[in-house]
């Protein structure tokens, strides 16, 4: 695996290690472990990681020609099928990598934060697989609205610690996990959920996720004898994005599109501290959040805003520093798609291809729908996850919007019974 950032984790001006002093030893220890095990493959770490991702995770994931979309757009559209990974999303690449690293470091306990529960379930699976005790911090609001994911974590033997401070969502869960870590660094590893946080997390998570583009790059050559014209991925924190882009970054001919959640509007309500979107790259400003300098949704004072997206996994006020840097340098295009568009794309892909995507992923497909003419003749879309987790949300949000593309759900009314 290769890395482009400087030794101290800077991507241009972004990155760094803005953390309380008490966390610095943990960060330093982790940095050293990252360099030894992940970068130098000490003790065969990378080999074991790759083997477990194959056998437990289901790698390589296929690169599938999307017959119907290709016809619709008169473009060869390929799907990189991370939705087929164990757990249903790319999240496992990172979770398994970090839990395994914790084992190599001699840690005895795993903690992680989770918002919608995708990273929490991936971490719980990895921890069970590697026989590591695991505690997941999750806001109580999120616990109440993501019960199936909570149950999955509990089934895998993880503790789920409700976070009751503040608004009880992802931001508070991250703070609470950092607090736990500050007290327990000696025996505990904190598995962060995306390419965010202090160095070495952004680089390390990217390296674990880079399996996606390592495979995709080889697969595009096998299928079409050449590299694609464009790669599209949705971007929340940016881990599937960086994973899908990383090995294509040196290939100047390949355009890279990070599709953010435009939410209900790109405007911002400074007064209320609310951004009705999660488009940190498109509308955010440089700032320091959760340990790194990056692009952040914030008000004039620097207070972090409440972000919004119909897809819980994109609903974050920051973004990985490396991705922010690649956008600033022009290598990656930051674009966005709103809630309505994402819902339409969710239905479109389900109907046309028989693949029900995560709502996060659907953003990338809506961008394809809207801009396929400008993307060349050979496009890869990273299907970051499957949409089973989103059924309830989609039913509700679709009903509110009266989308013509959505299937009728009358048969439930005929038969009676409540919501999903």
């Amino acid at each position: 695996m290769s890395t482009k950032e400087s030794r101290d984790g800077k991507f241009g001006e972004y990155g760094g290690q803005y953390v309380p002093e008490a966390l610095m030893p943990a960060i330093e220890e982790l940095t050293e472990a990252y360099e030894r095990f992940v970068l130098e493959n000490e003790d065969g770490f990378v080999d074991e990681f790759r083997r477990r991702m194959r056998e437990f995770g289901g790698r390589p994931t296929p690169l599938q020609h999307a017959d119907q979309l290709s016809e619709r757009y008169d473009t060869d559209v390929y799907l990189k099928r991370e939705d087929l990974l164990h757990g249903g999303a790319h999240k496992l690449n990172n979770a398994l990598g970090q839990v395994l690293l914790a084992k190599y470091m001699g840690k005895e306990r795993i903690i992680a934060e989770t918002g919608a529960g995708q990273h929490g379930t991936a971490t719980a699976m990895a921890a069970a697989h590697l026989d590591m005790p695991c505690e997941i911090y999750m806001g109580e609001t999120d616990i109440a609205r993501q019960r199936p994911n909570v149950f999955r974590m509990r089934l895998n033997g993880s503790e789920v610690n409700p976070v009751t401070t503040g608004r009880g969502t992802l931001k508070e869960a991250i703070s609470e996990t950092m607090r736990d870590w500050a007290k327990t660094v000696e025996n505990t590893h904190y598995v962060i959920g995306s390419v965010v946080g202090p160095h070495p997390f952004p680089a390390m998570v990217r390296d674990f996720q880079a399996l996606i583009s390592e495979e995709a790059r080889r697969q595009t050559r096998e299928k079409e004898g050449r590299l694609p014209d464009a790669v599209l991925a949705c971007a929340g924190g940016g881990s599937n994005t960086m994973g899908a882009f990383h090995n294509f970054v040196p290939d100047e001919s390949v355009d890279l599109y990070a599709v953010e959640a435009g939410g209900s509007s790109l405007s911002v309500d400074e007064e209320a501290g609310v951004a009705p979107n999660s488009a940190s790259l498109s509308t955010g400003e440089e700032g320091v959040l959760h340990g790194a300098r990056t692009r952040v949704l914030q008000d004039g004072d620097g207070q972090i805003m409440e972000s919004h997206s119909v897809s819980a996994g994109l609903d974050y006020a920051g973004v990985g520093p490396e991705l922010a840097h690649l956008v600033d340098t022009g290598r990656v295009d930051a674009v966005n798609v709103d809630d309505d568009g994402a819902l339409e794309a969710f239905h479109r892909l389900s109907q046309l291809e028989g693949v029900i995507p995560a709502l996060e992923t659907a953003h990338a497909f809506e961008y394809l729908e809207e801009h396929h003419d400008d993307l060349g003749e050979f496009v890869v879309v990273n299907v970051s996850g499957r949409g089973d987790k989103d059924l309830e949300t989609v039913i509700e949000e679709t009903a509110e919007r009266d989308l013509s593309i959505a299937p009728e759900m009358d048969l439930f009314r005929e038969i009676g019974g409540g919501a999903l």
Binding site: V19, P20, E21, G273, L289
Partner: protein
């Protein structure tokens, strides 16, 4: 008064509260009560939405203050409106310092802080490696920059801090985040020993709750005690229906006296008493 002067009588009681918790006016009264209760330095939190270094108690205080309308601008007004003897140190997170004003970077914030008479800054998420620009601004406007030394801080990092620190050094009593605890950590002694030859005063914080704690810590060789969560708890409890504000203020003053008393007692029986 400068921070150095505040520590001059050989021990300092340093209370912490969040500015604007739960309202601007309440909070003014509370800070002034601490001052009356014997504060030597006041650490005044400028609330940030993502306080990753704080325990639940202070985090809730921060949420109350933000909900009560506290902003950077109001914070400066607040400091201007305070009538206290003790010098005020602003404790906040780097993003608020970095974003303030039109030009990006810490300078505008420090300039404003100096203008309203703030004596120093504590920025828990700013590591010494990134502290260059802020140190420069503080030098320009005559503010002190306090660093937190953790029980785990050693070697190169300790030296970098030593290079940048001024006013006093905040010695973190134990691993973890802020929050009142029942015991006095053994890690405290070791931490104090590591910074023993630094020229700045040493104030110990994290988990100090009672006069007795304060006494033991001062006796162990600290120049001051920093006390936060137990005071924020008093604010959180609130007062009686009839005189909510006066009530809380009175209890804060009382607690301050207890802590200050403990510190004084510690200085009397502690090793410091024998030193010059």
């Amino acid at each position: 008064m400068t921070l150095a002067a505040a520590f001059a009588d050989d021990l300092a009681f340093v209370p912490y509260l969040v500015a604007g918790d739960p309202t601007f006016d309440d909070s003014l009264a509370y800070i002034e009560a601490l001052d009356r209760g014997g504060a030597d330095v006041i650490e005044l939190g400028l609330p940030f939405s993502e306080p990753i270094a704080e325990g639940p108690t202070i985090q809730e205080g921060i949420v109350r203050a933000l909900d009560g309308g506290m902003t950077t601008e109001r914070y400066f007004e607040f400091v201007g409106a305070l009538s206290v003897e003790a010098p005020v140190v602003c404790m906040t997170y780097y993003n608020l310092i970095y974003q303030c004003g039109d030009e990006r970077g810490p300078r505008p914030f420090v300039e404003r802080a100096a203008a309203v008479g703030i004596a120093g800054l504590v920025v828990p998420d700013l590591p010494p490696e990134e502290a260059g620009p802020l140190r420069a601004a503080c030098d320009e406007f005559g503010l002190d920059l306090i660093f937190i030394v953790a029980p785990t801080t050693r070697g190169e990092r300790l030296e970098q801090m030593y290079e940048h620190v001024s006013g006093y050094v905040y010695v973190q009593a134990r691993l973890g985040t802020t929050g009142a605890r029942d015991d006095v950590s053994e890690q405290t002694d070791a931490s104090l020993a590591r910074v023993a030859d630094w020229e700045v005063p040493k104030a110990v914080g994290f988990g100090i709750k009672t006069g007795d704690h304060a006494e033991r810590i001062i006796a162990a060789g600290a120049d001051g005690v920093i006390v936060g969560s137990v005071l924020v708890d008093i604010v959180a409890e609130g007062g009686t229906e009839d005189h909510p504000r006066e009530d809380v203020a009175a209890r804060l003053a009382e607690k301050a006296e207890e802590l200050k008393g403990g510190a004084v007692a510690g200085a009397r029986r502690g090793t410091r008493a024998e030193q010059p």
